[in-house]
């Protein structure tokens, strides 16, 4: 099997370190994964676990000071992104990879009407005439569920509600028909009602356009039914990865279980004590000996503190986890 035939994106051994006064921060730590065309991968973890840095590395938008050790390899649609000249990389980024961020205001320009912001990349990357780009902008606004799209072309971002702005940001990301959409906490800043709508919209567009998607979130609750595969990140590492249904039914990592227990459920009776994870995620300069979750894990033993568990695959399953003493049948939720 040649990987590039089925996989749109493959990431091998990607690490990102950022120098800081307290020592080098390892924001992303030896991450490997692959994403097929038209599929969704969810990336879940606490704040600071490295989700955004991972996305930025894939997009080639790391902070200047960041260092990516040489062993890393990112292949997109058959091309090694590491080996491409800057200009070509920028073209891929603008055209083939779309991005939606947590705060729509940060991806929209406050002083340009939204219609022009959507049309501009189509003129630049696809060479459309301004009339045609305008027409397409209207179609896109309609596709993301904005009523009276023609009238909205002239609106400025501040004249739209948070949910509307996020729709505009999605329309922008879709303008050049990207093969991959990276959505970094696209609904964290939004209300529950709007959150469900935006996630459903992303899912629909992704199916219709056969786009692949990386969906980043800190809430394990939103990935059910929305991602084919889910990867859980902790301290820069992927600590568990499986098809989403498999992950929920045969969870192996203590950290995944802890994230799961922390979610308040609407189907629970009132006043249930929430399963809060004790302690803090490891700080920037924390030493990397043993399992990074050991200081917070109730199951931790001596081995966990001295020897790092590798991300290993369950025999015959498409399920990997990094744990010496994985959850047993009885310990699963």
């Amino acid at each position: 099997m040649t990987v590039s035939d089925t996989h749109l994106l493959t990431v091998e051994n990607l690490s990102v370190t950022i120098p800081s006064s307290a020592g080098a921060v390892r924001a992303v730590d030896r991450v490997s994964l692959a994403l097929e065309r038209g599929r969704t991968l969810a990336l879940v973890g606490e704040s600071g676990s490295g989700k955004s840095m991972f996305c930025r590395a894939v997009m080639g938008l790391l902070p200047r000071s960041a260092v990516v050790p040489g062993a890393a390899r990112v292949t997109f649609d058959g091309r090694d992104l590491g080996g491409l000249p800057r200009r070509e990389l920028a073209a891929i980024r603008g055209r083939e990879i779309g991005v939606v961020l947590q705060d729509p205001l940060s991806s929209l320009n406050p002083v340009i009407p939204v219609g022009r912001q959507i049309a501009e990349p189509m003129r630049y990357h696809l060479g459309l005439s301004s009339a045609r780009a305008r027409e397409r902008a209207v179609e896109l606004l309609a596709a993301v569920g904005i009523p009276q799209p023609e009238e909205r072309l002239g609106a400025y971002p501040h004249q739209l509600s948070g949910g509307m702005r996020q729709r505009v940001a999605i329309a922008m990301a879709l303008a050049c028909e990207p093969k991959l959409l990276i959505a970094d906490e696209p609904t964290t800043a939004l209300d529950v009602t709007v959150q469900a709508e935006i996630l459903n919209l992303l899912g629909r567009l992704q199916r219709e356009r056969n786009m692949a998607m990386v969906l980043v979130t800190h809430d394990l609750g939103v990935v059910a039914g929305r991602a084919h595969e889910t990867a859980v990140m902790y301290a820069g590492r992927i600590v568990e990865k499986a098809p989403t249904v498999e992950l929920f039914t045969r969870m192996r990592m203590h950290y995944t279980r802890a994230l799961f227990d922390a979610i308040p459920r609407i189907d629970d009776p009132p006043h249930r004590e929430l399963g809060a994870i004790g302690g803090q995620p490891p700080g920037p300069a924390a030493q990397r000996v043993g399992c990074p979750f050991a200081p917070r894990c109730w199951r931790a033993e001596e081995r966990c503190r001295t020897e790092e568990p590798p991300l290993a695959r369950d025999a015959g399953e498409n399920h990997s986890y990094a744990c010496w003493f994985p959850l047993s049948q009885e310990e699963r939720p």
Binding site: E46, S47, P147, S161, G162, G163, M164, L190, D191, V192, T193, V194, Q195, A196, E197, L199, N200, G203, H218, D219, L220, G221, V222, A224, G225, R226, T244, V245, F248, T249, A258, L259, F260, D261, A262, I263, P264, R265, I266, D267, D268, P269, P270, H271, R272, E273, L274, G275, A276, I277, Q280
Partner: protein, 339 residues
Amino acid sequence: MSEREPLLRVEGVTVVYSVGGRRNVHAVSGVSFALFRGETLGLVGESGCGKSTLARAIMQLPRPTAGRVILDGEDITVLGSRSLRALRSRFQMIFQDPIASLNPIRRVGESIEASLRTKGGKSAAERVRRAREMMTTVGLDPEQHYRRRPFQLSGGQCQRVSIARALMTEPQLLICDEPVSSLDVSVQAHIINLLRKVKSDYGLSMLFIAHDLAVVKNISDRVAVMYLGRLCELAPCADIFSSPAHPYTRALINAVPRPGPCQPLAGTGMLSGELPSPMDPPSGCRFRTRCPRAETRCVMVQPELRQIAPGHLVACHFPLREVAGPDEDHRPLMDRPDN
């Protein structure tokens, strides 16, 4: 005063912001409810529906345009600023953005200690001792954290500081405005558990505002649902989630994501359209532009909050459940389409 006399009574509170010219924002319109002693009342609604405005009106920051706020039998909307200041220590508020709500240049320990200064009557050493004690109560380490500044703490730690600061004056009422909305799920769980604990340890009454229904259900005894400045439903927590009566409440509940392998996707058959502008709210029922059950009567007549079951209030002409029983056609004859 009887035990059932509520700690807080909000009567017809209205807040109108003037936004230049003759244009007004009707942020809160005629809201009434009671908060009983030792109770947690959850307040939910979409962004912009007026939750924070209502909370600030209760705090008299600023005073509401109309209506009364009665705290412990006393109408605080008519108090002079001096008497109001003397009362302040009895009701405290916690805000959504934990870092921004603390003084950025002050050490957090001092911020906590300072909240006792306005109350008076304690020596500096005593205040510091109490502040350190309170930090321990909320899960901070005074040795490590007393001298830090807000930007040197995480969002969750700053929220603990806010809670400690609010508890120092031994308030009767704690108003929490989206205290966990900017935190991620694992930190959120800590803060919710902490609020639940201090509430029972200190015998507080709490008004807990959030847009996440699962969070509100977890912490509340009763829940009030707000839409475009008005209350649409108010009921005991278990009741409102098992049998919502207002179409808006049901839509909100359907929008909640349910974690698990085979759960139906949230938000299917959901609300369509956007929240109308509070500058020009719809006539009659404010929810009618998005309500699947809306009829002529909803355009003409504003539904008042009325009781349909013990303690279950709803403001809807055609609620999903009626006193009489299940979801049948209870509309008055004149409202049926074939008439």
